[in-house]
């Protein structure tokens, strides 16, 4: 599994698309920070709307910037679809998984390695996203907004929360990819899922949907809109989804004609 992860990182290091994605992430972060844009592709309601309103009409510090960037993670999710295609989609479209699976790796290790690589990539990209905001804000002479130590802690929590919950959304994409063999279907799914869940929440008022509204959960965690004590059900559902998608994908691939 470790060898497979190393191989994936080697391939990414030699894939232009990864550098384009990195540049796009940096560019998006710079753009948001400089233009003080708040918001993304989401259905705004409640606390989130209030926070967006406050940010739009208050002077920006570095902290304001990273919070605003967090509100835009739904757009970052769309950027990260490219990562999903590079890490795992390409293996299925080019059928290079044959080489990988013949190398002696188990199906579970294969899927586990792919998810782990995606998570590490997402952590890296999200950190770059926030650090770019930090650098841009400092370059434009904005204050930190809080102590340096607390800001570092906030950025770390935001990075982990955003990357983790985006990865949960992509884990649903992985099982769709394995089941259908199509990269289009999971890509469309990843785009539609947050919007569909948010809209259903607004119109159908099914409160349990909040546990699978992963992008919104990421934002709420990052912006401290969910108390630590209330976080466990969200984490539990996400870990459960991860377990089902990773083990499920391994089982599907074991029964599939490759």
């Amino acid at each position: 599994m470790i060898n497979q992860m190393r191989a994936d990182f080697y391939r990414q290091a030699h894939t232009i698309g990864c550098y384009v994605l990195l540049a796009a992430t940096i560019g998006f972060s710079v753009l948001l920070t400089l233009t003080k844009q708040v918001g993304g592709m989401m259905v705004s309601e409640g606390n989130t709307s209030q926070l967006m309103e406050q940010m739009a009409h208050s002077p920006w510090s570095v902290l304001t910037g990273v919070k605003a960037l967090t509100m835009s993670t739904s757009v970052l999710l769309y950027f990260d679809i490219a990562l999903f295609v590079i890490v795992i989609g390409y293996e299925f479209s080019q059928k290079t998984y044959k080489n990988t699976l013949i190398s002696g790796i188990s199906r579970l290790q294969f899927i586990g390695a792919k998810y782990a690589v995606m998570l590490i990539d997402l952590l890296g990209l999200t950190l770059v996203y926030y650090l770019t905001c930090l650098a841009t804000s400092l370059a434009t002479g904005r204050g930190l907004g809080e102590s340096a130590g607390k800001l570092a802690g906030d950025i770390a929590i935001m990075t982990i929360a955003v990357a983790f919950f985006i990865s949960v959304t992509f884990s649903l994409g992985i099982i769709l990819l394995v089941a259908t063999g199509s990269t289009i279907i999971p890509a469309v799914f990843v785009v539609v899922w947050p919007l569909a869940v948010a809209m259903l929440t607004v119109f159908a008022h099914w409160s349990w949907l909040k546990y699978v509204d992963f992008i919104n959960v990421a934002m709420n965690v990052a912006l401290s809109l969910i108390k630590v004590g209330d976080l466990w059900p969200y984490i539990g559902v996400s870990v459960g989804v991860l377990a089902v998608t990773i083990v499920g994908s391994a089982l599907i691939i074991r029964r599939k004609e490759l």
Binding site: R11, Y90, T96, K98, N99, I102, G104, I105
Partner: protein
Amino acid sequence: MIGTALDIRGVGKRFGRFTALDNVSLAVRKGDIYGLIGENGAGKTTLMRLICGLSPMQTGSIDLLGQRIGRSQRALSRIGAVIESPAAFGSLSVTQNLKLAAIQHGLSDSRDIDEAIEFVGLAEKRRTKARHLSLGQRQRLGLAMAILHHPDFLILDEPINGLDPSGIMEFRQLLKRLNEERQTTILISSHILSELYQVSTRFGIIHQGHMVKELTRPELDAANQAGLLVSVDQAPLAARILDRAGIGPFEVNDDHHLLIRSDGADPGHINLMLVQGGVLVEGFSRQEGSLEKYYLNLLAEQRQMDRQRADGRPDELRVDQQPNQQGTSGEDENR
């Protein structure tokens, strides 16, 4: 199972109502180059995919290098395979694709990559992206990736497809070198018998999901010899008569058949001589030495047996299996 690299027993595979493999058994010994021959759709690729674990097992068992496929993936780390078309990352160069495969196999020595590139003759293309390689060069890259980690067992599915004549010759030499220099056991499939004949030491002929025949190269050579096939009631007596008359060279195939490997043998003269010596001559037929004809005859007999089975007349009409016999009514010269 000492000496056996691959042991396939009673393997069956169905896709819906279509039976791709039906109770197929075969054994590949260590050091063999086993040629799996069959028409397109005969079940060769399905069998190879089962061996590699790319297709789930339904019935039967496959033991590869002492490990049961489906229970353990360990044996797969000791094999190399090119199934269907070689799969490489088009945006990576030859060297980068091999580096990737090396990392997957836990190899850190770059000499393994250089050696594999040299071995398959891609040294001049080492910096070329895989998507810019010709079909033959991609086949070579596939082979390089398959042999990079010095596998004990190599599985090649139709590797000569798309190769030009010189490419086929070079590929043949590569396989022989792998087998002789690295002692790699090879399972190779093709629908072209004459190509497999050049490299293989054992053959398995598969037809519509059934293993029709397994034979060694000497057995194939014997079955494939050209000459005049004489059917008699007492082959040993006939052999003594021919020997005394200085006719030959000839071989006694069994108690009732002799093969005279002389182009100038006169059937009329031989018939008279044998009859006078007390041998009942049942017939003469001209046996050709074409591997393709041998293969086609074998398939024709298999189809006839299939028809008989379908008609509910199992074996009563089954012909004596002399697959290399090319006799026709026009060529027979009965006594």
